[in-house]
């Protein structure tokens, strides 16, 4: 017999299970697109579905708003943080262990990004990977910003890595690290749609004048 109850008491009678505690979940603040047809969650509406918007500027802004589903997705925002510390996971919690961008956006002297983030995802440890893993520069921070602010920022060469608008089509539509957002590995929800669909939205947005949504 086990004779080691801490104060020698036997469980007595009575009943019941404890009420559930509500857990707050972190709202991601994804802006609803005003596309003619709203794409289901996890999908992107194609550029042609915005053809019904006659006003070019409004259509352009709507295209960007649809693209915003990607830009404000945790897969993207987590490494475009407002501070020097990236975020992590679908809830965009602060990155653990507590790494910072360091001098080159690749971590501090003792905690370098590629030390853990290897050239591909490692699902047994649920750690994402890509050969170019790094933090977006400070001036490209998106976290906490409205889509209108992100739009203005993404067009500003001083805050988009000196990219022309056409470069953005390439960057979002074809860059390997950006593409990781659609294949993020176990335990993480991919960005909506596909990288090609996101690229098509950027192209249509640029073509339609690269207008920004109203603030």
């Amino acid at each position: 017999m086990i004779a080691s109850l801490r104060n020698g008491i036997l469980a007595s009678a009575a009943i019941l299970a404890m009420g559930g505690l509500a857990m707050g979940s972190l709202a991601m603040g994804v802006l609803a697109g005003h596309a003619a047809e709203t794409a289901p969650a996890g999908r992107l509406a194609p550029p042609q579905s915005f053809a019904g918007i006659a006003d070019t500027t409004a259509r352009s802004a709507a295209l960007f708003t649809e693209l915003g589903k990607v830009l404000t997705n945790p897969r993207c925002v987590n490494c475009h943080p407002a501070s020097d510390r990236p975020r992590q996971g679908d809830t965009s919690r602060p990155h653990q262990p507590p790494v910072t961008r360091g001098a080159d956006g690749m971590g501090s002297d003792s905690l370098r990004c590629p030390t853990c983030h290897q050239d591909r995802n490692y699902d047994p440890g649920r750690v994402p990977g890509h050969p170019g893993w790094h933090l977006a520069p400070r001036e490209m921070a998106w976290e906490g910003k409205s889509l209108a602010e992100i739009c203005t920022q993404i067009k500003d060469p001083d805050r988009n890595g000196q990219r022309k608008l056409d470069d953005l089509i390439e960057h979002i539509g074809k860059d390997g690290l950006v593409g990781w957002a659609w294949a993020p590995g176990a335990g993480r929800t991919p960005a909506p749609g596909t990288q090609a669909e996101a690229g098509a939205l950027v192209a249509a947005w640029v073509e339609s004048g690269a207008a920004c949504p109203a603030p």
């Binding site: 653990q96 790494v99 002297d109 003792s110 030390t115 490692y122 440890g125």
Partner: protein, 171 residues
């Protein structure tokens, strides 16, 4: 499967064929029986599994082993906790850990030892000013979790080694 060779604490291992998703931690612990390298979280969070990678350029860094496939270490030279002491002679840092009671249960010790050792070697190459020492140690060790001691004694132990030879580690 991938053909794999590695040098551990100066000793060559392999070539051997390894499953591509076998973690370095399991290679050390399950294949070689080198259990001094610990398994804590399997998610790159606690770094009790960290080992030292000696780069060809003469520098060294630590790396977790639980979230990195063994095959990614192919051709590298690494050091583990088993390789610090030379025979029965412990390193200065190992002795400092003991004398400072840096650890209690000791499960995180291998990771802290490797990180501390890499820091010492880094400071030998590029010393820091005395005023930056505490911050430098704190940053270097911050990736490592310890649940027993509250970290202070690890910091004191590393600092004591550096301050005992300021000409070697400090600018």
């Amino acid at each position: 499967m991938t053909r794999f060779s590695i040098t551990i604490n100066g000793e060559a291992h392999g070539p051997v064929d390894l499953r591509d998703d076998l973690s370095m931690n399991d290679y050390l612990r399950e294949h070689l029986g080198m259990t001094g390298t610990k398994f804590g979280c399997g998610a790159g969070q606690c770094l009790s599994c960290a080992i030292i990678v000696d780069e060809p350029d003469g520098t060294s860094r630590t790396s977790p082993t639980c979230i990195v496939p063994a095959v990614n270490f192919d051709g590298m030279a690494i050091r583990t906790v088993e390789g610090h002491a030379k025979g029965d002679e412990l390193t200065t840092l190992q002795k400092a850990f003991i004398e400072h009671f840096a650890f209690q249960c000791g499960y995180c010790t291998a990771g802290f030892l490797n990180e501390g050792q890499v820091l010492l070697e880094r400071l030998e190459r590029s010393p820091v000013a005395r005023a930056e020492l505490e911050t430098t140690i704190a940053e270097a060790l911050d990736g490592h979790l310890c649940r027993c001691t509250g970290y202070i004694k690890y910091h004191e132990a590393v600092r004591s080694v550096i301050l005992a030879e300021p000409q070697r580690y400090l600018a």
